[in-house]
Subunit: 138 residues, 2 copies
């Protein structure tokens, strides 16, 4: 049996976050000891590990709820898990593409003023004027 603090250390999820997950129904309510403190078993540890890993992979808590609801089921559920994972992948790829456009735009803007201070703040001008931009970020 683990205390909430031990669980926190083991998984890298902060204590208030664990309580928050419980509050929103993502983690099942654990048992309590005589002093009303939470006591977790291996299943609690596994569930939190699953959540942590999925969060690190960028899944929303809503997605994770769906994925956890599916666990242990068969057939269609697997297709659903796959669908969620693929949609998350598409989402991530899209974010990468957008960020790459931003990076090149920011690079362009940064090069306008190379640290000196001779007649610059073209940085501010560039920020104010989208029409100067090459790509279609946003």
């Amino acid at each position: 049996m683990f205390s909430i603090g031990q669980l926190s250390k083991a998984t890298g999820v902060k204590v208030p976050t664990i309580r928050y997950y419980e509050e929103i129904g993502l983690l099942p309510q654990p048992g309590r000891n005589a002093g009303n403190q939470r006591r977790y078993g291996q299943d609690g540890m596994d569930a939190l590990g699953f959540i942590k890993h999925a969060r690190d992979l960028g899944f929303s808590l809503e997605d994770i709820k769906a994925l956890m609801g599916l666990d242990g089921h068969l057939g269609d559920d697997c297709a659903e898990a796959d669908r969620i994972a693929r949609s998350q992948l598409a989402n991530v790829r899209d974010r990468i593409r957008k960020l790459q456009q931003l990076a090149s735009e920011l690079e362009r803007i940064s090069h306008l003023c190379d640290g000196g201070n001779g007649g610059c703040c073209k940085v501010l001008t560039a920020l104010g004027d989208h029409s100067q931009c090459a790509g279609d970020h946003s």
Copy 2:
């Protein structure tokens, strides 16, 4: 003179968002007509355009506040604007790097189950087990 709705259409910033920007002191309070409705001039349009573009580039409202406070000043302020832009660039590059790790991890997980349903939900297993991961995402 523009109404808030016209400003919204012209800049692509939603009406409640414009009011929000005003509320937090990012946009100066505009004049009002006899019926207490906001009326903006070209300066308001320019300021909102600046904010919009900077937001699209991923700057936080806090950053934008700093950048706008600097505008029109000299010397050090330019260096400061440059510093903010560069730090934003570093930030964006870092996010790209992390997302690329996530994408490759998600690709790996997605390939575990190619839509079929024969003994799969290795997707769920993979999500639960970080030790299977190649890279050091998170």
